[in-house]
Amino acid sequence: MDYYDIDGILSENQKVPCTCNVSIPGLGHEGREVPAGSKVELPFWLAEVLAVNSFVSIHMPIPFSSVVRNALKASPTSVSLRDICTNYYHFAENMLHVISDEQLAQLTLDTLRKRSLVIADGALNPQGALQQNSDFINGLDDFEKYLLRTAHSTHRSLTHWHNSTSY
């Protein structure tokens, strides 16, 4: 199921910075060869395959740089995840496959936990939440938007059922 997951496929499109360990033909502009030691930005699906065979080494991409990490540690709910990466959590999962970084895993978990609280509140009244908290709502990544949508629709059907007087 994960293989066909659209969000997963989209998240693999995120570019990551890599350094070529050997010279790679066909990767450069118009199919030219890329010399060893040069830095390129490759989409993750390509970088992962090349890195497994040690043709490139992957560096920490911008979404997980120390600037972003400190911002998330300080206040997870005020960072606009969408601007950093449209599918942050998926991408974190992909990166953690390749790079082993305990701190990143912990940070992602904490971010998700804190943000899902605000999302749960926002789901009860999306109109009001949008007015008050529009920066946060606009900065949600795709997974969080899905959370908001499902939480809201459950709440809506429950209220509808609760108020129904027909018998």
Binding site: E93, L96, H97, T154, S157
Partner: protein, 183 residues
């Protein structure tokens, strides 16, 4: 079978209400009725004014046909609800409500308000209890980790309400932990 997206994650409130119809309740029949051999149980001969124990769905149907009066369950009386409400306000955990309290209460209030004493007060108290528990459930989301989330004494409908959000969040957390432990 392809379900609409909203139903993939959780039951609809109507489905949970339907399941609650199987609980047994007391009724007072208003006319004599023959015994009913059903699949799961045989409903005995009903003779007024003797009380009879039947499933809730049958009780509601008989009430609708004006053939019986429903006796509200013990927990749905005013003094019991008031003490439950106080308990709910005092402690941080959820107080011990019957598992299907929300949907049973809703069904009974809709179908037989004339059989319940102080029905408006009961309605108001149920609403207060529901709101208190709702805010506690939201606060309880803070403790979620990828392995478990302990929220004791939640009712069936309340679990149903929380299920999609918790499920997706926990799934995502579980994947991240799984991947980081693989190395």
């Amino acid at each position: 079978m392809a379900l609409p997206r909203e139903l993939e994650a959780t039951f609809s409130p109507e489905e949970v209400e339907f399941l609650a119809g199987n609980e047994y309740t007391d009724i007072v029949p208003l006319e004599t009725m023959d015994q009913l051999p059903l699949v799961s149980a045989t409903i005995p001969i009903m003779k007024p004014p003797r009380k009879c124990r039947v499933p809730l769905w049958l009780a509601l149907e008989l009430k609708r046909q004006h053939r019986a009066r429903i006796v509200p369950p013990e927990w749905l009386d005013l003094s019991n609800l008031q003490s439950l409400q106080e308990q709910e306000m005092e402690i941080d955990m959820f107080s011990k409500m019957p598992f299907r309290w929300l949907e049973t209460g809703h069904l009974l209030l809709k179908a037989c308000p004339d059989d319940i004493e102080d029905v408006e007060e009961v309605r108001r108290i149920l609403l207060t209890i529901r709101e208190a528990r709702q805010s506690k459930a939201r606060a309880g989301l803070e403790a979620v980790n990828e392995v478990q989330l302990a929220l004791d004494n939640l009712g069936a409908m309340e679990i149903n309400e929380i299920r999609p959000l918790f499920r997706e969040t926990m799934n995502r957390m579980r994947k991240i932990v799984q991947v980081s432990e693989e190395e």
